[in-house]
Symmetry: C2
Subunit: 168 residues, 2 copies
């Protein structure tokens, strides 16, 4: 078997890989968002499907909701949960203007990045608050890093849709 030092280095590496994967998806969406006009954001990603602004707001609200699950503090924008998670997109529903959503995108994710930089390897392997202590004993994979992996795939999923806002 590898030594404890080697295994410790591998643990760091495995965590770094998952964090890099998050960073990559986040950078891709940010780049796309910066390239889109407000008008494009207000368009549907496909006929009858979510608008760009709704998907960006949805990703912001979901990233913001990671804060309490990770033990990073309260949501920065709790008002987004109803509009972008509980309620479906609807052209008539009140919605923050596009420049506002762009600001939320940056603020929430800069905070996520800052918090990630402060996490030690053992912190990532601790349970997140959506799982009870009893369940965590049986299911140790339900830890904070797993939450980040799941959110990374969630961002990829919606990036695949947001890309349809780009003109062919």
């Amino acid at each position: 078997m590898e030594t404890a030092n080697e295994l410790e280095a591998q643990r760091k590496l495995l965590i770094k890989m998952a964090v890099s994967s998050w960073d990559t998806q986040y950078a891709r969406i940010t780049k796309l968002l910066d390239s889109l006009t407000d008008d494009q954001l207000l368009s549907a990603t496909a006929p009858g499907r979510n608008r760009g602004i709704y998907l960006i707001g949805h990703l912001v609200a979901v990233s913001d909701s990671m804060r309490s699950m990770m033990g990073w503090g309260d949501k920065l924008y709790p008002q987004l949960e109803k509009i972008f998670i509980k309620d479906p997109d609807s052209p008539g529903a009140p919605m923050p203007p596009a420049p506002e959503i762009r600001k939320y995108w940056t603020a929430v994710h800069e905070e996520v990045t800052r918090r990630i930089s402060q996490m030690a390897p053992a912190d990532w392997l601790a349970r997140h608050s959506a799982v009870s202590e009893e369940d965590f004993v049986k299911e140790p994979h339900r830890n904070k890093l797993n939450l980040l992996i799941s959110r990374t795939n969630h961002q990829s999923y919606h990036l695949g849709q947001l890309i349809y806002l780009v003109n062919t």
Copy 2:
């Protein structure tokens, strides 16, 4: 610091998390694919965008191309690379019929699942064949597990598009 045994258990857990994430995306696409008719698969995911059949063929070809990078052997269906990776989707281009693509989807991914089940933890941390030995010394994150993580996000990305084939 944790003991070598504890770190060894954590390494196993971290790898299991990445593999489970792959399994989850694969299961979601398979479930969606099984629910779609051949006619739906032949439709565009959005006006002017890739057809469902192209995206499924693309994912099959990409998963099949993991084989050589992972050291699992040659591609099962090398003929798919030109149609689904090199060439863009085009309604006029020759393409295997939908039932054939469904068979490829199953065959390629059952093989991936079988190979994954045979991987030991240290195997996942070894370099994949698209990175040179020299580069790997400097960039040890370019290992086989990282390739799987990247492919998992790729599947999520296209799943976000394939879901648009489902009637609203």
